[in-house]
Amino acid sequence: MTAEPQVDHAGRDIHTQAGDVLLTVKGATKYFPIKQGIIFQKEVARVHAVDGVDLEVRSGETLGLVGETGCGKSTLARLIAGLYPMTKGTVSFDGSDITNLPRKKMRPFRRDIQMIFQDPYGSLNPRRRVGSIIGDPFDIHGVADGAERKKRVQELMEVVGLNPEHFNRFPAEFSGGQRQRIGVARALALRPKLIICDEPVSALDVSIQAQVINLLDDLQNEFGLTYIFIAHDLSVVRHVSDRVAVMYLGKIMEIGPVDDLYGLPRHPYTNALLSAVPVPDPDRADSRERIILRGDVPSPVNPPTGCPFHPRCPKAQEICVQEMPPLVPVFDDPDTHLTACHFPVPEGEDISQCTPGIDQSGTGPLVGADLSAITTGS
């Protein structure tokens, strides 16, 4: 989490001194079957939620994951956390392969990988007291009990900024921001190495978002945490991340250090997303070209061939229909900034002036999909 992205809080340059690789995801793929049948259910189609994602997360960094609703980012998070079995691919954590481990063998890794969920109302059981919710990790892993557990739960409550005396209250007695703090305390209980934050602030008021983000930031410094931070709000991601990955229809389109990616977006999709971010300065906002994409996000049941973005891309050519481009450095980008595009955007090009070289009329009406609703966190 870096307010000033080039340098972390200890003053080290993150990009030259990134930690060891903590998590490696290779070819992660998740298909959800759609079944139908009179007596015996047959698989008739599948939702391609995540389709061949490669990722590396280094110890101590924050990797932001952005994309529109339904692009598979939450599914990817759950694959990493081992909540869904993977269709294909591997996940390895701290050098051990944890792909599709049975529950008992997964248990030790659960202590190292924790999740913070999107919905502060849905993620806390309304029938249980806060103390017992935060104490769950201790209970499940048999770490501490009785007075010791209570003491540690109250310490955690203090760490996340809750009044430890509210130990015996129910979630309904807390506000949304406080509930999210409860979720953070629960994730923190076992001192994990990696915390996957699945849109942790998108359900909160903007004023509360900053508080929770600052809390996560402080905790990262204090406990040396690694974050995977999922959001659809590009400004939040920019604020918190060291590196950012952009997802579209289950695939990673572009990944790179936060300033490279925001400063020189190479993928037309990234350009479109960024052009929709509202800018506080009205003069700049007026002069800026909004890139209006055509049509809707295609159905993940029948994803487009080749590059999944080709039906909406202003730079699409015949090859985009045929082949999925590899995720590689383009132009003179450093090898930390990778783009999956046959026709990446050079510096200074205005892609709202581009015209596609293929027929995109089959992809829906010529109604501009307004991305601003998505990127501002609506």
Partner: protein
């Protein structure tokens, strides 16, 4: 008073934008059941029903002592004083407060003992049905997939039985008794509970807190016990309260058809059946056992309604909103 105030504060906070928790209030949060009880206490009808039910339970427990006080056992026949000279039952009087029956027994004393059977059958059969229904319904809803298909179809089959006809067949094969009545009633009601529980579990299963528990490494058994079951408490309480009168009527119906608890054990159902020959002359013989049955079922039904409102205040508010 403070009780009500705290209640409202808690409800506002449930809405999302309540006052800060630093507001002076009890540190100990009250459980949802405590809140429901506070709401129920304000409902006069429910409290009256609760009193009636507690009285009925006391009558059932102390039936023998009560009839000793009256001085007529449930099966004692008074051939001289208990029957009119023409052989018809005697009307209510200082001797038989609620009249006599067709063989000279005290209707009041028999009703008191009938309470015992009715409540016993009602409560035990309901408890059995709820336990089976919750176990099957939770398993089906939680695990889903093939387990769900198998269990749901089984429940569908049970619900497709012509249950009263099959129930009397079962009773006739195993010869009538209190035990067989309880078993048969539970046998034909558990699937209703199971279906409702399954539906609830299906929605609870998708909640993020279940996913959170799984991400912490909790096993299925723990998730069901700690995260799923507590959320089923409210519907189970309401449904049980509404099932008890159904079971009581079921037992009375079996007894009425001559296939319930065998005579001479007094039950409301077989008293009503016995009254069929003479009730046109002796209305009390029909009316008082019927009244006992009616008051009991009504009390449980009204309490069930009140409990539903108290346990799910949001539903009540939706109705009040217009």
């Amino acid at each position: 008073m403070t009780l009500i105030a705290a209640d409202e504060v808690a409800e506002q906070k449930g809405g999302g934008s309540g006052p800060d928790i630093s507001a002076p209030a009890a540190i100990q949060g009250r459980t949802p059941l405590q809140l429901a009880w506070a709401r129920l206490r304000k409902d006069k009808v429910s409290m009256a029903c609760l009193v009636v039910i507690v009285l009925l339970i006391l009558v059932a427990i102390f039936a023998t002592q009560l009839t000793d006080l009256i001085g007529h056992g449930p099966n004692e026949q008074y051939r001289d004083k208990g029957l009119a000279p023409n052989g018809l039952p005697v009307s209510p009087s200082g001797f038989f407060w609620l009249g006599g029956d067709d063989v000279g027994r005290d209707v009041l004393s028999r009703i008191i003992h009938g309470t015992r059977i009715s409540l016993l059958v009602g409560v035990v059969a309901t408890a059995m049905a709820v336990i089976i229904g919750v176990v099957v319904g939770t398993t089906a809803g939680y695990f889903g997939g093939r387990v769900d298909t198998l269990l749901s179809r089984t429940m569908d089959v049970f619900l497709s039985f012509p249950f009263l006809l099959f129930a009397i067949s079962l009773v006739s094969v195993f010869s009538p008794s209190v035990k067989i009545s309880i078993f048969v009633i539970a046998f034909f009601t558990w699937a209703n509970v199971g279906r409702i529980v399954r539906g609830q579990v299906l929605s609870i299963r998708e909640k993020e807190y279940v996913e959170a528990a799984r991400s912490l490494g909790a096993g299925d058994f723990r998730i069901m016990a700690v995260d799923v079951l507590p959320n089923l408490v409210a519907p189970i309480i309401v449904y049980s309260t509404l099932l008890i009168p159904t079971a009581i009527v079921f037992e009375a119906t079996l007894s009425f058809l001559g296939l319930g608890v065998p005579i001479p054990t007094p039950t409301w159902g077989n008293m009503i059946a016995e009254s069929q020959g003479t009730y046109q002359q002796a209305w009390w013989f029909l009316v008082f056992p019927s009244l006992a049955l009616f008051i009991t079922t009504l009390a449980f039904n009204l309490l069930g309604d009140g409990l539903r409102d108290a346990l799910d205040p949001r539903a009540a508010r939706v109705l009040a909103r217009k």
